[in-house]
């Protein structure tokens, strides 16, 4: 029998197609893993954004990775049962975002004000002397900023509640 831990370890190999340094586990979108007596696995994912174009790709990547383990069958579905928010990104995930040049989202505990977007810490020089350029970036989950200290434009993985 396969264990939930083994599944989650395997899923660390499945990276977000738009941010290839972070896994689906560290992104916090794997909301449920079930294994029945027949060794069949069901994985539930939750979308980061309803309009995320990577949803189907992620389902397929998860399916493909688990099918390489010793399991009887694999079923992957995406539901809103556990609504995703950026507090679900793990500590390791935050480090990985930074490695990709993205400022990690601040922990917000459900309360998001425009202020949290204004003085984001620059992922390159750590300065907070930064400016929000626009809350919309190259993908739905990013906002665009400028650092007045190191004179570098950067992106933030924006907080979502």
């Amino acid at each position: 029998m396969i264990t939930k831990e083994e599944i989650l370890t395997a899923l660390e190999d499945v990276k977000d197609p738009e941010i290839p340094t972070i896994s689906v586990v560290d992104l916090g979108i794997v909301t449920d893993v079930k294994i029945d007596e027949a060794n069949s696995v069901s994985v539930t994912l939750t979308p980061t954004f309803a309009g995320c174009p990577a949803l189907k790709i992620l389902e397929n990547l998860v399916k493909e990775r688990i099918s390489r383990l010793d399991v009887a069958s694999i079923n992957v579905k995406t539901t809103f049962d556990v609504p995703w928010n950026t507090d679900m990104i793990t500590e390791k995930g935050r480090k990985m975002l930074k490695k990709h040049g993205l400022a990690p989202p601040p922990m917000h505990k459900g309360i998001i004000q425009i202020e949290v977007l204004k003085y984001v810490k620059c992922p390159y020089c750590e300065s907070t002397n930064t400016e929000l350029k626009t809350p919309f970036g190259p993908t739905l989950c990013r906002s665009m900023h400028y650092c007045h200290n190191c004179l570098q434009a950067f992106e933030q993985f924006k907080p979502v509640g």
Partner: protein
């Protein structure tokens, strides 16, 4: 939980009007792609469009779970009479001032609607509402920023935004056209009702409009553009649907 036929019809009517609004305004917003007045606005309207289309997909999926057709069929194979969107979302983009003011008026109503629905007794909708309101927050934030900038900008920008507001306000009031099942929905605690929503919306947008050096049109001028929720639309909707569905209808069975 099981529902009577009437209750189910009431829920579906509610879902259809919300998701049809999102699909149509999402399509309109996407028409700014490549044409935005500045690059950031091009990206913003395109991202907002992508959000709204994704959100409409979530709700069409929910309708499909309630035995309606597939999301693609609902989006691309219905004619205008079967759509329940309000007139506000149907109008062509026109100038940026109209698009922005429409986005401001619509997104605030949507934000408040999903705040109400996050407390709904209809659980599948509650879950979706909780998620979507986090996304819509950014739409509202974007709209408020630009309304303030342009309302409080030059004489010309102020006049143009005020004019757009005057021209779109009665269309926006059409968002709150009462449905056939207002009492059922509020009795079931699925949705408090369009009247409650409209009052909340006025409470929220009025101070933002006023602090942007603009005026909310006087109540004596209010004349809501109703009909959309019953399938009576402006001449713009069918043209939009023809264009939006053109490729899909060539081969509805095609795998994408």
């Amino acid at each position: 939980m099981s529902y009577t036929d009437t209750q189910l019809k009431a829920i579906k009517e509610l879902l259809f009007k919300i998701t049809d609004d999102q699909l149509i305004i999402g399509h309109r917003n996407s028409e700014w792609t490549g044409l935005g007045p500045i690059l950031e606005e091009d990206i913003a309207f395109s991202s907002i469009a992508q959000d709204k289309l994704g959100q409409s997909l979530a709700l069409y999926n929910l309708l499909h779970d309630l035995d309606e057709k597939t999301p693609d069929e609902l989006a691309f194979m219905r004619n205008e009479k079967e759509f329940k969107c309000c007139h506000l979302v149907e109008y062509p983009n026109g100038e940026y001032d109209f698009s922005l003011v429409r986005h401001f008026l619509f997104s605030h109503s949507e934000n408040l609607r999903f705040e109400l629905l996050a407390e709904s007794s209809f659980e599948p909708l509650t879950k979706i509402a909780k998620k979507l309101k986090g996304e819509i927050k950014y739409h509202v934030m974007h709209a408020d920023t630009w309304l303030k900038q342009l309302g409080g900008g030059t004489e010309e920008s102020n006049l143009r935004i005020q004019k757009a507001l005057n021209n779109s306000f009665n269309l926006a009031l059409g968002i709150f056209e009462p449905g056939d099942f207002e009492n059922e929905l509020s009795d079931m605690k699925v949705f408090e009702g369009e009247n409650v929503l409209q009052n909340r919306w006025i409470e929220i947008i009025k101070p933002i409009i006023e602090s942007s050096n603009l005026l909310l049109p006087d109540k004596s001028l209010w004349n809501p553009s109703y009909g959309g929720r019953k399938g009576h639309h402006t001449e713009h909707l069918q043209l939009l649907l023809n264009e939006m569905a053109e490729v899909f209808r060539i081969d509805p069975e095609a795998e994408w």
